[in-house]
């Protein structure tokens, strides 16, 4: 089954990127999480017809990807595959919203198309920043950042466990699915008749694994509480990073930089 293995490989790749050693990787994860949150909130706070003011926001994901030395092509491909739901729903905007808002020479552009374009740009920005965040921070670090920002420990532990065993169980799932695939011909053998027991088996094995993990925890003195060391430090660099980006986002939220720039240029060449 290509899809499940492909997804796993993809997952592992993004995970490996986070092990980078660039300066941005070494920042306290809280700084990166905070900046990303401010970014997303400012981006989605624009009105539905606001398109051009969104463009300065590309600076954040682009700079993060560059500073983290992440493979840009990979991130772009990943973004391109995403958000089918938003796009499908957005496609209806041009159909239902036909008021012409802008004239580009002889062409009239309707509000629907503008808001659709805005949805697309928003998708790219929000998805891109989330991917960039994981790529330069790593999942466990994002979790510990959230925990230190007030997320309950039970949930943080849950996220860490989940993350650890995704690798184990997806491989197990992929093996099981492959075993079925190899003995299924065409659609036969891949229906719900085989799916129920397949998932059931996987579930039982999962359950047994949980029991073994629990045993391993007990044998090392687990008593229901987690003691985790915290190597992070929110220093001057982190403060500057968070405040700097946030100031930039707020500034771009309040001032339409592209319009200013554009009118400046058209003025000059007039």
């Amino acid at each position: 089954m290509a899809s499940i293995e492909g997804a796993l490989l993809d997952f592992k790749r993004l995970d490996r990127l986070a092990a980078g050693e660039m300066a941005i990787h070494r920042l306290d994860p809280r700084a990166k999480v905070l900046a990303t949150l401010v970014f997303i909130i400012t981006v989605v706070s624009f009105g539905k017809y606001e398109l051009t003011p969104l463009f300065p926001f590309f600076l954040f994901p682009v700079v993060t990807v560059a500073a983290g030395d992440l493979p840009a092509g990979y991130i772009v491909r990943k973004i391109a595959l995403l958000c089918p739901f938003a796009l499908v729903v957005g496609m209806f905007n041009p159909i239902f919203d036909r008021e012409v808002l802008v004239h580009l020479g002889p062409f009239g552009v309707t509000g629907g198309w503008i808001s659709f374009a805005s949805i697309v740009v928003r998708s790219i920005l929000t998805v891109g920043s989330a991917l960039a965040l994981v790529g330069v921070t790593g999942f466990s670090a994002v979790c510990s950042a959230l925990e230190r920002m007030g997320m309950p420990q039970t949930f943080a532990v849950q996220l860490l466990f989940l993350y650890r065993y995704i690798f184990v169980l997806t491989e197990e799932g992929a093996r099981t699915a492959r075993a079925r695939e190899l003995r299924a011909f065409g659609k036969r053998g891949k229906g719900m008749g085989s799916y129920g027991p397949l998932v059931g088996h996987l579930l039982l094995r999962t359950w047994e694994r949980a029991e073994r993990v629990h045993r391993a925890m007990l044998s090392r003195g687990f008593d229901g509480r987690f003691h985790v060391r915290r190597p992070f430090r929110f220093g001057v660099v982190e403060t500057l990073f968070t405040l700097g980006w946030s100031a930039f986002f707020v500034f771009c939220r309040l001032v339409n930089v592209p319009d200013l720039l554009g009118s400046l240029v058209t003025e000059v060449f007039r």
């Binding site: 073994r212 391993a216 090392r220 003195g221 003691h227």
Partner: protein
């Protein structure tokens, strides 16, 4: 805890679904001994191991570790004394990084941070895995996972090491590395394994289980020469004790060769 004795007296265990896994197992293992518990699949090996650190409660009989009987009160002490390495290291390594995982036990013991740090580094050094400290477990190879799993147990400074199928799933090089490592330990060691050549190399003594009973308990070489017993227990001689089909050496000759090779390696 001067002598790290493991004593099992008439141990019985019946699972809730009615399967009787152990029907009166008794033995005594002394300080510094390396003992293998062998037997066919379903003979009760894993059930036996799970009693040694109190994960399963006996239906009948008794387990004594050192000077204590295993009870609810002595459980924490026993779990520190008996270090368990499970068969699948993926079950044992559950924390985000190798360091966190090795530190899990010492932190649960309530040790101060610098002591935790020291123990983690010592144990990782011991198994030759100090370069892996910041790696997440899912990015380790099979052999690395196994060694780190052993380090997680060493960090608790146990007196007794219990290992379930230590060599399963390792490539020959990683297996050889692991055997070398286990040879260095001076702990009381108890293994279960189907890798009888490893057993022959590591253990002086073998306990054979069949259907939940001890059918033989004695020096490894003696037991491995008893064809009748081995056949009855669905076992066979270690390959190094069998005649070589290619060069025509007899069993005795190949045993000598193995011993010489071993001695050469030990030097």
């Amino acid at each position: 805890m001067s002598h790290h004795i493991v004593e099992v007296k008439d141990l019985r265990h019946t699972y809730p679904d009615g399967t009787a896994a152990l029907n009166g197992v008794s033995f005594r293992i002394h300080h510094g001994e390396a003992v293998a518990v062998i037997g066919a699949n379903g003979a009760g090996k894993s059930t036996l191991l799970l009693h040694l650190n109190g994960y399963l409660v006996p239906t009948g009989g008794e387990v004594r570790i050192g000077d204590f009987p295993l009870t609810r009160e002595t459980l924490p002490e026993v779990r520190r004394t008996v270090g368990m390495v499970f068969q699948d290291p993926d079950d044992q390594l559950f924390m985000p990084t190798v360091f966190d995982d090795v530190a899990f036990g010492p932190l649960n013991l309530g040790l101060p941070p610098h002591e935790v740090e020291r123990r983690v580094m010592d144990s990782l050094m011991r198994v030759g895995a100090e370069h892996l400290r910041e790696k997440p477990p899912h990015r380790l190879s099979g052999g690395e996972k196994k060694r780190v799993a052993i380090a997680t147990v060493l960090a608790m400074s146990p007196d007794i090491l219990v290992m379930d199928e230590p060599t399963t799933g390792l490539d020959p090089f990683a297996r050889r590395q692991l055997i070398g490592l286990l040879k260095e330990f001076r702990h009381t060691r108890i293994f279960t394994s189907h890798d009888l050549d490893m057993v022959l190399e590591l253990c002086e003594r073998v306990i054979v289980l069949r259907e939940g009973v001890v059918v033989a308990d004695g020096p490894a070489r003696e037991i491995f020469r008893n064809e009748e017993l081995l056949a009855a227990c669905r076992l066979e001689r270690p390959l190094s004790m069998q005649g070589c089909p290619v060069c025509g050496n007899t069993a005795r000759q190949s045993e000598d060769i193995t011993r010489k090779r071993k001695e050469a390696m030990d030097e």
